[in-house]
Symmetry: C2
Subunit: 476 residues, 2 copies
Amino acid sequence: MLHAIVLTLTVAAQRTVLDEFTQLLAIPNLASDAPNIQRNAAAIRAMFDKRGLTTRFLTMEGAPPIVVADYKVPGAAKTIAFYAHYDGQPVDATQWTSPPWTPVMRDAAGHDVDWRNASAIDPEWRLYARSAGDDKAPIVAMAAALDQLKAAGNKPSQNLRFVFEGEEEAGSPHLAAYLAKYPDVLRPDAWVLCDGPVHQSRRMQLFFGARGVVDLELTVYGPIKALHDGHYGNWVPNPIVRLTHLIDSMRDESGRILIKDFYDNVKPPTASELAALKNVPPVEDDLKREFAIGTTERKSLNDALLFPALNVRGIAAGHVGAQASNSIPTEARASIDFRLVPAQTPESVKALVEQHLASQGWTIVRDTPDAATRAAHANVVRVEWGPGYPSARTPLDAPLSRTAAALMRAAGHDPVLLPTLGGSIPMYLFQQPGNTPVIGLPIANHDDNQHAANENLRLQNLWDGIDVYVALFRGL
Amino acid sequence: MLHAIVLTLTVAAQRTVLDEFTQLLAIPNLASDAPNIQRNAAAIRAMFDKRGLTTRFLTMEGAPPIVVADYKVPGAAKTIAFYAHYDGQPVDATQWTSPPWTPVMRDAAGHDVDWRNASAIDPEWRLYARSAGDDKAPIVAMAAALDQLKAAGNKPSQNLRFVFEGEEEAGSPHLAAYLAKYPDVLRPDAWVLCDGPVHQSRRMQLFFGARGVVDLELTVYGPIKALHDGHYGNWVPNPIVRLTHLIDSMRDESGRILIKDFYDNVKPPTASELAALKNVPPVEDDLKREFAIGTTERKSLNDALLFPALNVRGIAAGHVGAQASNSIPTEARASIDFRLVPAQTPESVKALVEQHLASQGWTIVRDTPDAATRAAHANVVRVEWGPGYPSARTPLDAPLSRTAAALMRAAGHDPVLLPTLGGSIPMYLFQQPGNTPVIGLPIANHDDNQHAANENLRLQNLWDGIDVYVALFRGL
């Protein structure tokens, strides 16, 4: 059946990988920087051309190209697509130790090292640059895995398709349109999404879903001009107090959402999901120390991620600190995001939230209310829904899920199996409408400072990634 | 007994008053602007010198002088002091129709009028300038009242002392020290405080007290760094939600304070205070329209002011609107001010609030807590108490109170009797330690834009003020 391939890259081979990696990392990659984004796309296309794959750009007006590289296997029935993205988060260069697009290798103590001339390459060294972890490492690892596969005289068992997006960090604004425009290319038989970090325990992981999300902005109103609270307090409604009571009517301190019927269409976890959670290494105590928190809302982190969440992202009204004045403010705002699980949708959540607001005596408006509207109702709330999308899940016992886990185990990288990410990625776009199996396979270290300054990739994570890709290319 | 003095100033006399008023208003009067503050003090001293009073400056290093003018009556047993202040609020000149220290007369339609050459002076005209209402009008009206008294061949019944402060709008930082340094001057037998506006119904008013105040800043803590709420929400405590629950544990939406024993040392209103409230003209419906509010907390505005209040002045955490990001913020802050009534003190309130916090499971710290402190306790709150002082009340049936009201009634200015202002002024400083009777007699129109741009005084209020001062000087 499955055979473990034990790869040990020579120092020369490692240097070749790092050479390709540092060249790619040296190209600035903000989605909004069109000339450099094109340079990234061209460089990646050249990497896969060089390896004999059939490459092309998918294009759309005003969007970075999607780079596609195909490895056709004569007689293969299925096509497995591997996804990564080549754009990166914006940078605040003043916060970086070295310039974000000048890759620098450092040892575990943080000292620069000359990897090109070193006799051995320590797997605990890290390469620092924007997108080292998120998300150029998988691109370089996939290319290197193709070389390894060839060197071992192996071939993929199915057709492979590599798909690299150029605006994921900008919110993938054209991804749905791309999927609609190129169904023949972007509707493979299965997807492996290579983005994000491995488990906090440093073990590799597979994830099988992601929570959906929908944003909500609530504004409640006090007097139409700020009033002296000595003269009018206790009589003129304080909008901050209205808002705190409104928030507390929606959610308790243990994370439970109090909105009527909110859990009615939440699918309970499957037996295989619950079983997988039991095997997730415990990290709660470490995280409590790292975050300096003396308590938690739900007891188990992984358990918490299986449920929908109501997070208050921000709240603002009047002034605090030195700017505070003794007045009743005119309005109070809260910004909320909901995390959704199967079978919730943004639409189902919107309906329940608005029913709740009405049941609590709130009059809903969509724009800033005028004085007449404010005077006509006891409680007016402006409700602004932001963008959103549903969750996605692939069953842990689907053939793709089971095979991928078995291949990783055989390659010596027994993965943590996460039924879902807590965060939201638009996995449903890849999954729908055909219910295509989609799994997530991240390779970056969990402490890679993704989205922040001094982003980095720990080299062992790169070698592990190459290992695992070889196993999947060969065995899936 | 008491005889009404019906004053009708001639147009010439009105012009003389307005001439003196505009000259005083033309001198910039920020407490921090020492040279101009000295010019104001000198001008006021000259006004009272000219009328034959004995004047002096009380001085203190770094503080504007207090101008004192004495009118000694041979054989009089008591000294009645009249207080006003000559400094004004800071200005944002860009918001003013005309420069703040260039007095301009306008008619009710807002058109400039040439009052110096008009054949008649409409009492609905308004004089626009910083401090026209707050608080130079009483100073000019007192000086004019002395002229009227003299012209009618009358003398005061008691010694009069005029006391004019120069840093009230800066928070009276030296008032307590002045009172301690000059007890012979600043401990008269009674005080009449002439500051603030008349009743919203346009009737004159007397007030007999003011609420005390104490400020409180609360900061509660989440994770020590902002976290992705998709990955950690429902497990890592959200500090905003902790804070909203804390606020809601302290106060309900009808203004009732839920802190244990909070009302225990609140003195119930006296029979005469309750009787006075029944005679306060109703303004609630007008105010609800003006403020565009569809409901109120307590039903009656005046009733609300007899109780202590907990006002949330501001709240801040994370971001709202376009800046909102899907994260769990590190802390959440609320700024609160309490309004106090007899016999509460800042100290009694502090003790009750801190007992409440402890009973709700909060660990109180005084500074920003370190990671170890945050990790060691389920709920940590930083408590910062701001400045505060107690309330003051003079009984409505005290001789000063009854006589002042009767004199105003006889002069045709039946006053609204307010047991207390809702706002806080340091009336207790004038009252303590000897329990000196202190009453408040404002003359400015309620819609004078005090503290804001286009501050103004309606001329009828000036004429009414002169009337009433004549009556009080003669009869008190």
